[in-house]
């Protein structure tokens, strides 16, 4: 059964230096508060796994928490570049960042394999692109029935997956709805899991389009109201598109980023920016 912890306790207990960590949420329900708590606790040498690094990993990379990034699309959606990600790859600041690069279809299927207890997944992908030459975790496999060649990618099994959800009940059952993305697969693929939620309620009313992750499949739940801002929580608050646009200026140079980090993350206690 999932333990109910504070966000600080959850991050401290579940995430260790050097862990492979997936903070997932596809555009919706991005676990921003958890990411900033990881920064505050000074976690280091993390392998960060995420389809769309987004602001959450731009912040973690800029803050020096990451040794490696496993990803498929590293931009600021609808705005442009992730400057801290670019600075790390292009200039090694604040230190070099190893990358393992896939496509969305590849990453999604890697999580599916991880959640399924399989060592690899098969897809029609990557064929003819330059990715297999740069990413050793892309191989080919031959269909034993038709002889066709397809792509094979290894399962993703993070040490810890962190997701944000709308709510949980007091027993630790987690409910999310709207765009549910890759969260179920990312959570089930992981050894341990931390779910931040907008609120804990006495019982979960069924919601159209909602999914439930049973308490016994979750390690810990922590309340973090507003915990995905400036991403959004369907039914609670909307995406703060302005803040996504402002991030471009905040993150563009090291000084303004460092000032932001200092004032908005390091000097606060669990309050998302």
């Amino acid at each position: 059964m999932a333990k109910i912890l504070s966000l600080a306790e959850g991050v401290a207990e579940l995430i260790n230096d050097g862990d492979a960590v997936a903070l997932e949420g596809f555009t919706h329900l991005i676990p921003m508060a958890a990411g900033q708590e990881v920064i505050r606790q000074g976690k280091r040498d993390l392998t960060l796994i995420r389809m769309t690094p987004d602001l959450v990993y731009d912040q973690l990379i800029g803050a020096g928490c990451a040794a490696k990034l496993v990803f498929s699309w590293g931009g600021n959606p609808g705005v442009g570049s992730l400057h801290r990600f670019r600075d790390a790859v292009q200039n090694g600041w604040p230190h070099p960042l190893e990358i393992e690069e896939h496509s969305h279809a590849g990453m999604a299927n890697r999580y599916v394999a991880g959640a399924s207890g399989l060592p690899f997944a098969v897809l029609r992908g990557y064929s003819g692109t330059d990715l297999p030459g740069k990413t050793p975790t892309i191989k080919t496999i031959t269909c034993p029935f038709t002889g066709e060649e397809l792509a094979a990618v290894p399962a993703l099994n993070p040490d810890v997956t962190v997701i944000h959800a709308q709510r949980a009940d007091e027993a630790g059952n987690v409910q999310l709805w709207g765009i549910t993305g890759i969260q179920k697969e990312a959570l089930l693929a992981a050894e341990r899991s931390l779910v931040t939620v907008e609120e804990i309620v006495p019982s979960l009313e069924p919601v159209p389009g909602g999914i439930v992750l049973p308490s016994w499949a979750v390690t810990a739940v922590a309340t973090a109201p507003g915990g995905s801002r400036p991403s959004y929580a369907h039914g609670y608050y909307e995406r703060d598109n302005e803040l996504y646009k402002q991030w471009d200026a905040i993150s563009r140079d090291r000084e303004s980023f460092t000032a932001w980090l200092d004032s908005e993350v390091l000097r606060t206690e669990g309050t998302p920016a």
Partner: protein, 248 residues
């Protein structure tokens, strides 16, 4: 006819290529603008699919991201990310995929990964692949929307993120790519289409007041021009009004 920008002309030209009832895999930015314009003009039953898993989204306003809340609330159904890629895209159910590009070559191969230097130490690190390689592989046809410039229309892309026609005829079949590949490139200057025999992108239309020479001058390779080069009609008042309502 009011004044309009070359970007507006590009969006209008892209929107016109969509047929009513098409199932369209939409990326954010210009593709989303074009698809939402088409849905309000000639293609009211256009089915919009965003990679966040929203099937049949009908947004009132243009989303900033491919996962804005309005896409979910207006969709016929919302599925998981693995499902949208496996059951809907990979299975060949999508008629048209829209893609952008940082670099593009004469065979419509696309780079959105790195520019300059080498992969391990690039001059410019771009966002990367996202859904593009499999959109390029699996959709029945692909429309590329990109501003035309010497920086973008290069002899050879620095990195093949998504395959157009590879190195020419027969390559898609050899690579096992089941979709039809790029059928048109819509730019701010005109429209390029692959030559049926050689697969090489050929200028088939120019936008009003643009000359073929101007387009050739914005292309690194020796761009061929179709003998029956036509001019894309100007945006109608209706197209401009709807487009500006969407993007304002």
């Amino acid at each position: 006819m009011s004044d309009y920008t070359s970007d507006e002309m590009m969006s209008v030209a892209a929107a016109r290529t969509l047929r009513d009832g098409d199932v369209c895999f939409v990326g954010i930015g210009l593709p989303s603008t074009a698809a939402n314009l088409a849905r309000r003009i000639q293609a009211p039953h256009l089915v919009l699919i965003y990679e966040s898993g929203t099937l049949g989204a009908k947004p009132e306003t243009l989303p900033l991201s491919i996962g804005d809340g309005e896409l979910a609330t207006t969709a016929d159904t919302v599925v998981s990310v693995p499902e949208v890629f496996n059951y809907w895209l990979q299975a060949g159910r999508i008629d048209v995929g829209f893609l952008g590009a940082a670099q593009l070559d004469r065979f419509a191969n696309i780079n959105t990964t790195v520019i300059g230097g080498d992969y391990a130490d690039p001059k410019v690190r771009l966002p990367g692949a996202g859904g593009a390689p499999e959109i390029a592989a699996s959709c029945r046809e692909v429309t590329i929307v990109v501003r035309q410039s010497l920086r973008a229309f290069v002899e050879k892309v620095d990195f093949v993120t998504s395959v157009g026609f590879g190195s020419g005829p027969g390559d898609r079949e050899r690579l096992g790519l089941r979709g039809g590949g790029p059928q048109r490139v819509i730019t701010d200057l005109g429209v390029l289409e692959p030559d049926p025999a050689t697969c090489e992108l050929t200028l088939t239309r120019v936008h009003p007041a643009v000359t073929a020479e101007e387009v050739r001058a914005a292309t690194c390779w020796d761009l061929k021009v179709a003998p029956d080069l036509r001019t894309e009609p100007e945006p109608t008042e209706r197209e401009l009004t709807v487009l500006r309502g969407l993007t304002s």
